[in-house]
């Protein structure tokens, strides 16, 4: 099953992806990014927004 994962080595926890998600599928928790697969629709908006390319789709 496809899902979006965060590459923690690239992620700068800036919150850009959170600001564009309509489904509350991600959240900055203090200094890390949490992604909730059950809420994610794979619309890819967060992937396109990430300045660092830290979000990836995996099978």
């Amino acid at each position: 099953m496809k899902r979006i994962v965060v590459n923690r080595y690239k992620c700068a926890y800036c919150g850009a992806c959170v600001s564009v998600c309509k489904f509350d599928a991600n959240e900055l928790v203090e200094t890390y990014l949490e992604i909730y697969p059950d809420k994610c629709t794979l619309c890819m908006v967060c992937v396109k927004t990430c300045p660092m390319g830290a979000l990836e789709v995996v099978e």
């Binding site: 700068a12 600001s19 564009v20 900055l28 200094t31 927004t49 300045p51 660092m52």
Partner: protein, 390 residues
Amino acid sequence: MTDYDVVVVGAGPGGSIAAKTAAEKGLDVLLIEKRQEIGVPVRCAEGVSKEDLEKFVEPDKRWIAAEIEKAWIFSPDETKVELSAEKAGNEVGYVLERKIFDRHLARLASKAGAEVRVKTSAVGLKRENGIVKLKIRSLGKEEEITTKIVIGADGIESKVGKWAGIDTTLKLGEIESCVQYLMTNIEFESDVTYFWVGKRFAPGGYIWLFPKGDDAANVGIGVMPSIAEKKAKEYLDDFVRKKFPDGEIVEVVVGGVPVSGGLKSAVSDNVMLVGDAARFADPITGGGIINAMKSGYYAGITAYEAVVEEDYSAKFLKKYDERWKKDFGKKLERNKKIQEKLLKMDDETFNKIAKSLEGMRIEEFSVKRLVLEIFKKYPKLFWDMKDLIF
């Protein structure tokens, strides 16, 4: 009885000014910051207008990294247009050291009487009998506190707004995806800000260089994800590799800038949003510090009036909307429309405009001034923008 009159979520410039303003009026204020250090990590290019900043805080060399006298704008073929800061109202007069600046503002809030808690985040909000029950997590421990008003200063990733029923979701054409390097070993003039515009450099945005003293500068980029073909970092890496091959990167700053032109309304019952949470960054420059501070001030004043009147309804808090709209709301709206026109402009047109302005000294360092000059030179091109400018 509630635990607090006002809880401010987020200790950036908007949050700290809101907390300071409300505390100075005698309210019981709690200012919470989810990170362990206020001002870190920096998510900003750190440029700010002198005149506007000085309305809020006395300048202090501890948090002023550079003073800027002029701006150079480069078109895609690198034709240079020079703006000088001979009149007041310049858009980037100081380059700040945000790590120190943000802490200074939080200290001012604390001195005014606000309680400050770091490593404390808001994790849920519900309203009950006209007050707010705010769930917070502090050093791993959850607790519920009650307050009359919540001021959401929780940045671009704002959750307070969503919890309160305000739709803050940005579209791909309403955000700038930004990366910035603090670079040393590069050549630049220490009193000049540099901007490179056009799709060649940064689709939907621009590349900037803001000096931070003589030997270091912020070199960054903002691109609009709806039209960019690569990641912001890839565009910036291409640029610095060519322009500053010997440069060293000593810090990386990453963030999104909301360029939607502001929310229609930044209030709901018991809640006001300020700064980036309310999408108050300028759609053209991306600058957000001053609007954040102004909105924080207006939210603090409105909170005081609401407490005096014992009315925390959205209807009463609309006073806050009226205040920010009267101050900078029209400019946000106008600049959003200008930005939409600029996005349609191709690189060749940018080059032609720059050629026509080359050699002129535009004696005011502002977007409005620049657009006016372009309008004078290119009336045909800008005929449909006249309503936005005058």
